[in-house]
């Protein structure tokens, strides 16, 4: 085999140029990664619940049910409020009559009248869908009826849901339920129709005390993002690894 001086130099240059290419230039992107790199969402919806401010009026539950056409008398709700009483004798009692739809109006709790003098500490805890970063309810859907949008909200396709109920069992927070009218899985949507029009969710709007706030976690100037970044907040069932995006101020260890 013979090779001219010119060809040898050209080949050497080509090999040197090729070996200078970084390995990452040959990385094959998944379709999701490729799409994300061109049209990454600038919105990630997140929520703050301030349990110090909640008084248990239940206006959020009422507004949510009417706004989202959840049957008013049925014992199901997308958001609810729990009352926790830690008694001076160390016991804990908690309840959520009708999900707190009509507020907390009585000292009676779990068929027992608890006098405020016997209470060591008390708090009302509003709950709603955590819109997890790793939603287990979405993973278990066998048909692709429930999914997460690019801005982080978990939704249910009512035309595609077969009503198997796997997602209702999979949610560690008990947020999902079976819709009595549509016969499909139902859950809080962060009022997706409202937040996309620049409005607040129905529950945030209805809360007189500012116990609920919604914001864009990808916007560093959003008041919700600022609060989460600068104040002490906690999430529910952190150990499950679901990465919930509803942050609680003043969350007590007794809240589950």
């Amino acid at each position: 085999m013979s090779i001219s001086r010119r060809d040898f130099l050209i080949s050497t240059l080509k090999i040197a140029a090729a070996s200078a290419l970084p390995l990452s230039a040959f990385k094959i992107l998944s379709p999701a990664e490729a799409r994300a790199s061109v049209e990454a969402s600038t919105v990630r919806w997140g929520f703050i619940v301030d349990t110090y401010k909640c008084v248990g009026c239940g206006f959020c539950v009422k507004a949510c049910k009417l706004e989202n056409e959840v049957p008013y008398e049925a014992p199901v709700t997308r958001t609810w409020v729990e009352r926790y009483l830690i008694l001076k004798d160390g016991r804990m009692v908690a309840d959520t009559p009708l999900g707190g739809r009509d507020g907390f109006t009585s000292l009676e709790i779990q068929e027992e009248v608890v006098k405020p003098e016997d209470v060591a500490k008390a708090f009302f805890v509003p709950k709603l869908c955590n819109q997890c970063e790793n939603p287990p309810c979405v993973q278990v859907c066998p048909v692709g009826a429930t999914y997460q949008t690019a801005d982080g909200v978990v939704l249910v396709d009512r035309t595609w849901c077969i009503g198997c109920g796997y997602c209702i069992m999979a949610c560690p927070y008990g947020v999902r339920f079976f819709h009595p009218v549509y016969k499909v899985a139902e859950k809080c949507t962060f009022c997706y129709h409202r937040i996309n029009k620049g409005m607040k969710t129905a529950c945030v709007g209805a809360c007189p005390f500012g116990a609920r706030q919604i914001g864009n976690l990808k916007d560093p100037n959003d008041p919700v993002t600022k609060t989460i970044m600068t104040q002490r907040v906690a999430v529910l069932k952190d150990e499950y690894g679901t990465k919930p995006q509803v942050y609680y101020i003043g969350l007590d260890e007794n809240v589950r």
Binding site: R35, E39, P116, F124, Q148, T149, M199, K200
Partner: protein, 157 residues
Amino acid sequence: MSSHVLRPLWVVIIIVILILGARFIIVPPDFGIQERGFMYGYHRKSNEDDWKAFKVKYRTRKYCKDCHPDKYEPIMSSKHRIIQCENCHGPAVDHPEDPPKLVVDKSRSLCIRCHARLRYPGTERAKIKGIDPEEHNTGMECSMCHNPHKPDMEGWQ
């Protein structure tokens, strides 16, 4: 190849084609892997628009302000300014077209959401003026004496 091999093979091929054809018709064209990947984003893309198109019912007090300044002004200078109009008057939806008249909830059960006395230590609820609904003028609507738009005693009727 002999016919006893070919014949079932054709049957299988036809069944596969039928299934693929049915799938092509039934599955919407925009169904597939979206932004959040296969695990979290496998869905019909247009369903997001279905949810966005859902009807807004609670329009917030900004919607009431312009037509009802006579109600808006006094309540905004009272302690009840933190309460949205629609919390008591019901969702406005497309009022005044639909519904032409909102039904105001004047029941005791509405007021005692906050004003039933629950003096739990450490809660904001304990700071709200409250009554015992079982004892305080039972059977009467709160608004017979108290003006919800002027909750301080100057609104006392």
